[in-house]
């Protein structure tokens, strides 16, 4: 039964990825780019969702987002490494490692304190980044154009190449995370969310679960930051600013913690709302975004993911009958 489930999951993901990759050829360039950006934000939000499954929300994912972005950027400008896949992977590993270092420091805290301390860390990083002139200070710097396995795509296809890479990457990450969520440690994380005391009394470490989730979230955040940096071709300390972190939290709350695809859908939704309101209401886009945030928190408090789950449950029930 379990094998079937995973086979299904993998088959489904490959199918979905192929569809998206093919669709990418036919949609306008700007939408390809918006989706790539939404994936970058979605990856970070997926990290927060992973934390949320353990009962925590980080208001400072800009911290790892910026570290990931700067890692990819500096490898590009300083070490001449321009392969997008490699950059994304290295950023993932490096920020994951950073998460492993900072995780224990933060894992002692819960609720609002965790959120605020993570926010504080991101603001400290912001302070550091605007101070270091060697990496552009508050102006940030431009990233070199990315290559893909040694090939520099022509500018017409650069966006599409990155889109394909990010779709595949997201597919892999989503499947892996689904595995993790369904595994025993993933289940224990959910239990920590509900009753940490009991988890300890059952002999498992809530601390360790939190550090693990924080590390995963950091890695994902870093990868998202790298992807965002590569896609835009520019990074600056704004990556670590509190308003950036706020957007990630919003995406994860909008998505809820029940479904992985919902996270990316939420990210895309935010990206579209923001970019269209910025385009058609340049004077009042913040108002529109704010009202959108409030309304969606009021009317979909459990997130889009809960509908996904309900739908899937219904589907499964029908299948079984």
């Amino acid at each position: 039964m379990t094998h079937k489930f995973y086979n299904n999951l993998i088959v489904q993901s490959i199918f979905l990825m192929s569809v998206l990759i093919i669709v990418g050829l036919f949609i306008p360039n700007w939408l390809v780019f918006v989706i790539t950006k939404a994936i970058a934000y979605g990856l970070v939000a997926l990290g927060i969702v992973t934390l949320m499954r353990g009962g925590l929300v980080s208001f400072g994912q800009g911290f790892v987002f910026a570290i990931g972005g700067y890692t990819a950027g500096l490898l590009g400008t300083q070490a001449g490494l321009t392969d997008a896949v490699l950059l994304l992977f290295i950023s993932f590993l490096f920020t994951g490692f950073v998460g492993l270092i900072f995780g224990p420091l933060l894992a002692r805290y819960r609720d609002i304190f965790f959120a605020m301390l993570s926010l504080a860390f991101s603001m400290v990083l912001y302070g550091v980044l605007i101070k270091i002139d060697a990496i552009g200070g508050s102006d940030g710097f431009v990233l070199p154009e990315s290559t893909y396995f040694g090939i520099l795509p022509s500018s017409d296809y650069a966006d599409y190449a990155l889109y394909v890479v990010s779709i595949i990457l997201t597919g892999i990450v989503s499947v892996l995370l689904r595995y993790y969520y369904n595994s025993t440690p993933g289940l224990i994380a959910l239990a920590v969310r509900e009753n940490e005391l009991r988890v300890e009394y059952l002999g498992a470490s809530a601390f360790r679960v939190t550090v693990l989730n924080f590390t995963i979230a950091a890695g994902l955040g870093g990868m998202g930051g790298a992807l965002n940096g590569i896609a835009l071709g520019h990074i600056d300390p704004e990556f670590s600013y509190w308003t950036t972190s706020g957007e990630f939290v919003f995406i994860s709350i909008l998505a809820g913690y029940l479904s992985v695809p919902a996270v990316f859908l939420a990210a895309l939704l935010l990206e579209l709302v923001r970019s269209f309101s910025g385009r058609y209401f340049p004077d009042t886009w913040q108002l529109i975004l704010g009202v959108f945030l409030i309304l969606s928190i009021i009317y979909i408090p459990t997130g889009i993911g809960s509908f996904f789950k309900k739908f899937m449950d219904k589907l499964n029930k029908k299948k079984n009958e």
């Binding site: 304190f113 605020m116 409030i294």
Partner: protein
């Protein structure tokens, strides 16, 4: 030498006073409602705008100059009276008892809305109300001139802090608020109207936010975008002092104020960074701030 120390001390004290007034409402609202109100910065900006609007009207009515402080107080009060029912009653109240982080997000959304509300009401124009700053004249301190108004900010900060602290600890309603801070559920069972306490506490917080804006207005050009930095500065103060603690806010403001003044005079390269450095140091050595108990874990 002595001159320089005096200058650093005065500059630091003025800046710290400003920070304290800005952070006071934030830390108080957190203490009572457990809401970290990002929209605090937006209310601050509204306070500044409303002062910039009301003070010229006040002068045009031919009122005596010295009483302009009343107009400033009134404009802060007006902002709090308008904003509290909308924010607390209409929006935030729906979220009580839900995840605190969700509420932070809601206040962030409100912050975004307030940013554009300022634009819709007051447009893109800058406003100047430097007149109140001229009442107290200038004072010679060491080799420098200080503006009396700036020095009076120190007094205002002390007054605000003491007033809030005393009314919390020495009055009956203050004690009720303390009881709610300690345990809202039990206080509710004992007959305290929690909703009322929350409304009042939010009002006080909003009033201090607007007051900070009102008294900053004469120092700056009031225009769009003045709130974003305030959010993070007041946040730094409460992180250093400990969320929800009034004495903590005093210390937090003093640490940042003094450190910044010392940097500007002695080590200007570090100035931009010093606030974050204080915050980082505090996070590493005492992550819950100076005035927070150590317990944070459920176990």
């Amino acid at each position: 030498m002595f001159d320089e120390i005096l200058t650093i001390f005065l500059d630091g004290a003025i800046y710290a006073s400003w920070l304290f007034i800005v952070a006071l409402g934030l830390t108080f609202v957190f203490g009572v409602l457990k809401i970290l109100n990002i929209a605090h910065g937006g209310i601050y900006a509204l306070g500044a705008y409303s002062t910039a609007t009301l003070v010229p009207i006040f002068y045009s009515l031919g009122m005596p100059e010295e009483l302009v402080v009343l107009a400033m107080l009134f404009s802060a009060l007006a902002v709090a009276i308008v904003i509290t029912p909308i924010m607390e009653r209409v929006i935030l109240r729906r979220f009580y008892g839900q995840d605190e982080v969700l509420i932070v997000l809601v206040t962030y959304a409100i912050y975004l809305v307030l940013e554009d509300v300022q634009k819709i009401i007051w447009g893109m124009k800058s406003f100047y109300v430097s007149e109140p700053r001229e009442i107290l004249g200038a004072v010679e301190m060491g080799s420098l001139y200080y503006v009396g108004y700036d020095l009076a900010l120190i007094g205002l900060a002390i007054f605000c802090g003491l007033a809030l602290w005393l009314s919390l600890n020495k009055t009956k309603s203050g004690k009720i608020v303390l009881a709610v801070i300690h345990n809202p559920e039990i206080s509710g069972c004992m007959g305290v109207n929690i909703n009322k306490v929350y409304l009042a506490a939010f009002f006080v917080g909003a009033f201090f936010a607007a007051l900070a804006g009102s008294f900053t207005a004469p120092l700056i050009s009031v225009q769009v975008g003045i709130s974003v930095a305030v959010v993070i500065e007041s946040f730094a103060v409460v992180i250093i002092g400990g969320l929800g603690s009034i004495p903590g806010a005093v210390i937090g403001a003093l640490i940042i104020g003094m450190a910044r003044a010392a940097c500007v005079h002695k080590l200007p390269e570090a100035e931009i960074f010093i606030m974050y450095l204080c915050m980082a140091g505090m996070l590493i050595f005492r992550p819950k701030g100076l005035f927070q108990g150590a317990q944070a874990r459920k176990i």
